[in-house]
């Protein structure tokens, strides 16, 4: 797939099927049962999914949720057949799907859903759901088929956020403490999990989608290996992520089909917005840096030909993307002279500053950003930490600049929330303390009307851009390779391997191939 084509597809915001099905003629078109599929799709940290620390990819085929983020990024009903939202946007009434059984054979009821939400609210300290459920006034299950949540204030991302509120059988071992074996309603049963090795699940015969799943067994390889694409090519895996640098080679490989996840990661250069440190306490100096950075080149270094240009949190084609704001971008091309002129105007002698730069060991922006800052005349002390070290260092706010990136989210709110004064883990963006910005984001969240909400978000983003809290370098998609004997396995908005309109439940394999 050519880059232009890819962008057009995204820009149109439709025809996802083109991406999802890729090219290639399909030899066998009727799904058949059988086969074992091996995936390398990230890792699992805990069998207590409510406490998940980012294992959504692997969790979903075993346990399901009321809503599911479908291919276009919108929430669709999964265990909830439908829902109603009250006029004031505060009451959600879910019609729970009937005839769904847990892996232990018990029938799922609204009472089970309530029990799970209560457990999450009571037991789980982390996760996106915490902020969502914090504002719950009341939850109830008036009958087996109805689940009602009443919020104190309207909370627009609610349906997206509960796409990770796993519904497990309250009979799961360890329910009152740490769950050790998840009993869910998914198409596969959570059989054996060996940390650092593999996670196996057999077909669940009593699955509520007729005929499905087709596969006999799925095996997730949970070893954290730097580059799984070699094993994919060798046929050890049927599906795994592949580095963008290898996409073109895999596209030439007839055994492997390449797919892209539609939500993107975005790369940025942030400043320390919480503790004022010269010279970046001066917004003009931050602006000068934005002028100095060769953003198109940096974007290419990060994602090669698959880089997507955007000066916003989202890419063209997304509902929250603004074309006009993109047109008005003053940093489309680098302008070192202008940058130096600004520094001169502000009376800044860059040689006076030793900039503390925080980065991660495998970050590809750090070198070029450091080089650019040095070209501006600054001295740079770059500290490259491991994945946890940089978080800690960022949270100490004793640094000046941080080049980094952030992955896809189920809702745009989850990106904005980290710019808020009390947002979760705001270090990546320097922890702005901006009540005006908080107000704008809160207004967006409370907006029941979509267009109104969009406008609030755009206002918030305009403020972030004007104040140069962070400089967007660009976006990059994530690429996945699927071996051709695997059929109808599609990657969508996020990296979940199961959703209401696709994923492992629909996947089948050409046997005897």
């Amino acid at each position: 797939m050519q880059r232009r084509e890819f962008l057009t597809t995204l820009a149109a915001g439709t025809a996802m099927a083109t991406i999802l099905n890729g090219g290639g003629a399909i030899a066998q078109s009727t799904p058949s049962h059988g086969g074992t599929m091996r995936l390398s799709w990230g890792t699992l940290d805990t069998a207590d999914f409510h406490r998940h620390t980012g294992s959504i990819n692997l969790t979903h085929p075993f346990v399901e949720t009321l809503t599911s983020i479908s291919a276009d990024g919108q929430p669709r009903g999964m265990l909830a057949e439908s829902w109603e939202i009250s006029e004031d946007g505060k009451t959600y009434t879910f019609a729970i799907r009937q005839g769904v059984t847990f892996h232990d054979g018990r029938t799922m009821t609204a009472g089970d859903v309530l029990a799970n939400f209560e457990r999450i609210k009571r037991e789980v300290q982390g996760g996106w759901l915490t902020s969502a459920l914090a504002d719950v006034e009341e939850m109830s299950a008036p009958d087996d088929a109805t689940f009602v949540v009443r919020l104190l204030t309207p909370f627009a991302p609610f349906l997206n956020v509960i796409a990770e509120a796993w519904i497990l059988s309250p009979d799961s071992p360890g329910w009152n403490g740490q769950i050790t074996k998840a009993i869910g309603t998914g198409p596969f049963t959570f059989d054996t999990w060996t940390p650092q090795l593999e996670l196996r699940g057999k077909r669940f015969d009593g699955y509520w989608m007729a005929e499905k799943p087709y596969l006999d067994e799925i095996i997730f390889d949970v070893r954290e290996v730097a580059d799984t694409s070699l094993a994919l090519r060798a046929g050890d895996f049927h599906a795994s992520s592949i580095p963008l640098s290898q996409v073109s080679e895999f596209e030439a490989n007839p055994d492997v089909e390449v797919m892209f996840r539609t939500d993107t990661s975005w790369s940025f250069v942030s400043f320390n917005n919480r503790v004022a440190r010269p010279p970046f306490d001066n917004v003009r100096v931050r602006e000068a840096v934005a002028h100095a950075l060769d953003i198109p080149t940096l974007r290419t270094i990060v994602a090669g030909q698959y880089a997507v240009a955007s000066n916003q949190m989202v890419v063209p084609g997304n509902f929250y993307f603004d074309e006009a704001m993109s047109e008005a971008d003053p940093h489309k091309a680098p302008d070192m002279d202008r940058a130096k002129a600004i520094l001169a105007e502000e009376g800044i002698n860059p040689g006076d500053f030793m900039l503390e730069m925080v980065s991660t060991q495998n970050d590809r922006l750090a070198g070029p950003v450091s080089q650019t800052l040095q070209q501006l005349g600054f001295r740079v002390n770059n500290r490259a930490y491991d994945d946890l070290g940089y978080q800690r260092r960022l949270s100490e706010y004793d640094w000046d600049v941080f080049p980094g990136s952030s992955g896809p989210r189920n809702d745009v709110f989850l990106r904005f929330v980290r710019f808020m004064s009390d947002g979760p883990n705001p270090g990546l963006w320097g922890g702005p303390q901006d009540p005006e910005l908080d107000r704008m984001i809160n207004a967006a969240v409370a907006s029941v009307d979509a267009d109104e909400r969009r406008q609030h978000y755009l206002d918030a983003w305009q403020r972030i851009s004007d104040r140069y809290y962070t400089i967007v370098i660009g976006h990059s998609p994530a690429a996945y390779g699927i071996r051709s004997e695997v059929r109808d396995f599609t990657v969508a908005f996020n990296t979940s391997t199961h959703r209401v309109d696709g994923g492992l439940a629909e996947t089948w394999m050409i046997t005897g191939a």
């Binding site: 940290d45 805990t46 069998a47 207590d48 620390t53 980012g54 300290q125 982390g126 996760g127 996106w128 915490t130 902020s131 740490q178 050790t180 060996t194 940390p195 650092q196 090795l197 390889d221 070893r223 954290e224 290996v225 730097a226 799984t228 070699l230 094993a231 090519r233 060798a234 050890d236 491991d386 994945d387 946890l388 070290g389 978080q391 800690r392 949270s395 952030s406 989850l414 980290r418 009390d422 947002g423 979760p424 883990n425 990546l428």
Partner: protein, 308 residues
């Protein structure tokens, strides 16, 4: 006779005592070494961007990470003394289970590397000594040079590219033969170098002249007289060789995607999963201490002069 027994047993007792002291040192050290690393499991969750700071503090409290190191230490020591390394903070599963899974690949890799290393590292110098003007001398030099010049991890990477990617002979992940051979070659090189030099030196010893004067064959001279005397050096180095093989195994595991102790440790360190790191440090450390002890004892039994 009784005196002689005491003279034999005392140094062995001293060896064991010393090993126990070092073992105790490792146990204490592993606790504090890990505590030196800033950041904890809560940061791991923080990295997902899912916790506010208030939530992180609450979590630290529930995991006792906010308590003083002394109370953490005593609690942990009590557990370890009972043979219980506790539960992985990250996975929630008992650490012993994790170790059991991880131990197998590392042991197999380390053992086969050591096996290859000992076979080549002892066999080649022996052959080179028996046939002093043969290809074996060149082979000893080659393998020595190899171990000096080629860092195991870079040859590992090259092997993955060549054998897994280009030729498709081995699976890219989980293959054991290639890393075992690479590590084995490395160990063999170190060993062969020392053993060969020692054998060349021992060759000059007066008792070898005696053996020649007896009319023994070359094989008899090498196997019965030169090798045993040179071998004491190798035995003395067994602990270090084992530690080297284990260290090498860690690198190879990462390069070849093996789910062994090395991978486990690396992930545990990066994930700040203290109890797992401590358990691995203790296990590996004790293995090396035990190997050193065994090599000391074997040396004693091999060389009647020691400790008398």
């Amino acid at each position: 006779m009784n005196d002689r027994l005491i003279q034999t047993l005392l140094p062995i007792g001293a060896d064991i005592l010393r090993s126990l002291m070092i073992a105790a040192g490792i146990v204490v050290f592993s606790f504090f070494l890990i505590r030196m690393i800033p950041g904890d499991i809560v940061d791991v969750m923080g990295i997902q961007g899912t916790l506010t700071y208030g939530q992180q503090d609450a979590m630290r409290e529930s995991l006792r990470l906010n308590e003083g190191w002394w109370s953490q230490f005593t609690a942990w020591l009590g557990m370890v003394a009972g043979g219980d390394f506790g539960v992985s903070l990250r996975y929630g599963t008992p650490i012993l289970d994790l170790l059991r899974v991880a131990l197998a690949p590392t042991l197999i890799l380390g053992a086969s590397a050591l096996g290859i290393g000992l076979t080549l590292g002892v066999g080649l110098p022996v052959l080179a000594c028996v046939f002093p003007k043969s290809i074996f001398v060149a082979l000893v030099q080659f393998i020595t040079l190899w171990s000096i010049v080629v860092p195991t991890f870079s040859i590992g990477i090259l092997c993955v590219i060549v054998f897994a990617v280009w030729l498709g002979w081995i699976p890219a992940i989980g293959n054991m033969v290639v890393p075992a051979v690479i590590l084995g070659m490395d160990t063999a090189g170190t060993l062969a170098k020392m053993l060969h030099e020692d054998m060349v030196d021992t060759e000059r010893a007066a008792f070898v002249r005696t053996a020649r004067a007896k009319g023994l064959s070359r094989w008899q001279i090498v196997l019965r007289h030169i090798l045993p005397n040179a071998l004491t050096v190798v035995v003395a180095l067994f602990g270090i060789l084992l530690a080297g093989a284990l260290t090498g195994a860690i690198t190879m595991e990462v390069v070849f995607g093996l789910p062994g102790l090395g991978t486990l440790t690396l992930q545990a360190i990066q994930g700040r999963d203290y109890p797992v790191v401590q358990a691995v440090v203790i296990w590996l450390g004790l293995t090396v201490v035990l190997a050193n002890l065994i090599s000391d004892l074997v040396q004693r039994s091999l060389d009647p002069r020691i400790g008398r």
